[in-house]
Symmetry: C3
Subunit: 347 residues, 3 copies
């Protein structure tokens, strides 16, 4: 595919500067771009690379120098870049129907133009929307519902009665609706509390690979619209992940915790159970959260504290042994002074 | 299904108070319960909710107020709740036999009333007990043994010669018996130490989704009876997890470490190799364990320390920068005093 | 299989001492070994066990006492042990061809002597080398390439166009080439940045179970030859893992970070994005890395610091509350002295 720079400027709604007839056939980073490719500058830190790039054109933020390059100026060059990558490289999945070797149960409701690969399993009573794609090894248990244009990658499991919205992407090996981890202590061991709730995944959610989202004990674990969850994340039973929240890889969220909208949890964060994390709160990587976080706050550390305080505490941490030495030294010197003074008192 | 409150009291062995003829059709939390449902109070913290619940009956601990509700009094209302959830909502899995599309190898020994879904693979020489359920995508390698009433969910892998007991549940995507992580350093790289042992999972164990349990180098990695392991947990080669231990999500246990009975490891805990964790020891979430823990002790932190000590250290941690300032200030003031005193000495 | 001790000494290139005609049929640890088995002493810490072992022969380091046992002396007994385990217990996988129930797409290029188990899926245009083994539930998306003698265990997914080298082992459930976690913020949510790069896994790499390696946004995520990656590890988009690096379980490496050769990351380590970790650097378990690490350095802690410094800081950490008390006490005593001195000044 090829587009003129003018066509791309119109597509993105940006301001063209330079030769609009230049033909562009792809997108690349500043260092890798070739003459027929367009690149972008989102972070001023990389401005020096603009001078040396071979890219035939650039996406630039308002007010940036163009270094004599053909350019499209737009408010969010990074978003523009993402849209051009989509334009040049992303094709709708090929519709292949229910392929031989796919297993389809009884009372299944199929939308139009679905693709079910060999080795995918569609349980009894499943409802599939239009243009759903199920890759090999996908297992939809009894009564699952999947919305339109959703893609479930190979070896994803959706357990009994769970509901997945439209335009959802779930990457390979992730599990939606396995049993929550709940037991009642008995003298002889642990009595399993049956997990009879479900998981609801709303529209436009994306879930990485090998992530696990447990079904509710009663009721529903809910991933709200537009939330993005990375690989190897654990979401426990009865959690609610707010709309458009971002959960980075290897995070664990314990049972019944509720996240607001646009919350960000950094990689390997752990959140205790029964907490509330407010809208647009952010948590630094590897933090351990034991208390509610108010909306808009930034927390870090284990146990977590306001991010600025943590930065200072983290900076001071390597100094602790030295501080300890100083205290012992101070005690010695103070003692000497004290020994001196009562003597004087007695004068 | 419907039961009278009298029937439920008899079933649980509790003391009925109020109208035993009330008909109950299900179980719910205090806030969600309807008139035909029974709820429970296990934690006195939630006592206020009892007043406003619409539940038709309650499970209450001895001595609790009933607020004028029909009630069953019993020592462990939480356990009673779990038993009623089981009674009302859990049905034995439907027996479906070896379904078309299932793959069964040579010399397989099948118990009675097994269910093997399409896309499940049963390798040569596998032995299955009675009423085993294998969901789609389960892969049992050569020589695996699975006990009666065990359920293996979709995309579980059990590697060559591993043994899984009776009444075991393994959730989706978990892996039993992949190779332990062992290499002998060579000048040119790493020489793989073949992992020729197995994994033994005893009766009544439950394992979450996408958990990994490595086979032993020689001998066996063992998960003892009644242990409960959550999602995304790593158990390395030659570990022994003691009976009825509880291992929360995203824990990692390094090679050859032995856990006693009824040990609890909180979420995201890491345990180094070749350690012993004593019976009924507990480790707080996110802790890092580098030393043995004696039986019955509670540890937290990274590196871990007795829990009470950690609570104090954690509370003090945000104060470190301020402490450092105080020390510098103290040094300055002390120096001033010292400068003053020798002068005095010279008087 | 049986070998004489003389044959084993020749095989390993070690110095035989004692009776070379002794027949050996296997390998075991010092405590478990029987008369016909050979054991080894690699760590002098276990020397005492040599006295009590029933092993018929030993692999010993130069200069070690033999305690009257038949022995093979060699520079690296642990490596010798690994080689004997391979010799006695490891057989090449049985060649079974493309078995019934395997799914093979169009334009697939098959090497000689491949094994494709039932339920494995080989997408259109896939290229397989000689003696490749694909276990059940393996999904190779369109255009994947797999080198000779590579083994992909059950339920592994290799996404579109990714390339896996020769003699690679990938354990069950691991995912190569799922989308990197990249979004451009929009006012209404997050716009997905299509991940159109690939993953390249070079020769002799081993990857554990349920590990996830994301494809690059543009270009390639690369795992260089001989690297060993444990279970449940996350490698984000555009990372480069250097040759012969060792990455222990549950590590997370964020986007675009580059590891040198022979780097070691301990269990549950987290590494931020866009960093460089130098050749032969080592990072202690559970550490959080926010900055580059120079070649050859050993770091630990969160945030990470040089390992020796961390050891001291970790030792001092439990003392923080006590230090705080000391500081308050010092302040009080100093104040008393100060109160005393100005009075004196006024004399």
């Amino acid at each position: 595919m090829e587009k003129t720079l003018k066509e791309l400027a119109d597509y993105l709604g940006g301001d063209l500067q330079g030769d609009g007839s230049v033909r562009i056939s792809g997108v690349a980073g500043l260092d890798d771009a070739q003459e027929r490719q367009i690149s972008f500058l989102a972070n001023p830190r990389y401005a020096a690379r603009v001078e040396s790039t071979a890219a035939g054109a650039l996406l630039l933020p308002p007010g940036a120098k163009s270094y004599g390059k053909n350019a499209i100026y737009l408010a969010n060059p990074y978003l523009g870049f993402a849209k051009l990558v989509t334009l040049f490289y992303v094709r709708p999945p090929r519709v292949r129907g229910v392929m031989p070797g796919a297993f389809v149960g009884d009372r299944v409701v199929m939308g139009a133009a679905v693709t079910v690969y060999p080795g995918a399993f569609v349980g009894d009573g499943v409802i599939l929307g239009d243009r759903v794609t199920l890759f090999p090894g996908v297992a939809l248990y009894e009564g699952v519902e999947v919305g339109s244009d959703t893609v479930l990658h190979a070896n994803v499991s959706i357990r009994e009665r769970c509901r997945v919205g439209s335009r959802v992407i779930i990457h390979n090996g992730s599990v939606v609706g396995s049993d929550g981890f709940g037991y009642a202590p008995e003298s002889t061991g642990h009595y399993k509390i049956p997990q009879v709730g479900i998981v609801i995944i709303e529209d436009d959610v994306e879930i990485g690979s090998n992530t696990t989202i447990d079904r509710a004990a009663l009721g529903a674990t809910i991933i709200r619209r537009g939330a993005k969850i990375d690989n190897l994340v654990q979401i426990a039973h009865n959690c609610v992940i707010g709309a458009h929240s971002i959960i980075v890889s290897q995070v664990g969220v314990s049972g019944s915790t509720k996240l607001g909208e646009f919350v960000t949890l950094g990689g390997q964060v752990g959140v205790a159970g029964h907490l509330e994390i407010g809208d647009r709160a952010m948590v630094g990587a590897k933090s351990g959260i034991h208390n509610d976080i108010p909306a808009g706050q930034v927390y870090s550390g284990y146990p977590a504290m306001p991010h600025r305080q943590w930065l200072k505490a983290a900076m001071a941490a390597p100094k602790i042994p030295e501080m300890r030495k100083s205290i012992i030294e101070l005690e010695k010197r103070l003692k000497e002074l004290e020994a001196l003074l009562p003597a004087k008192k007695g004068e």
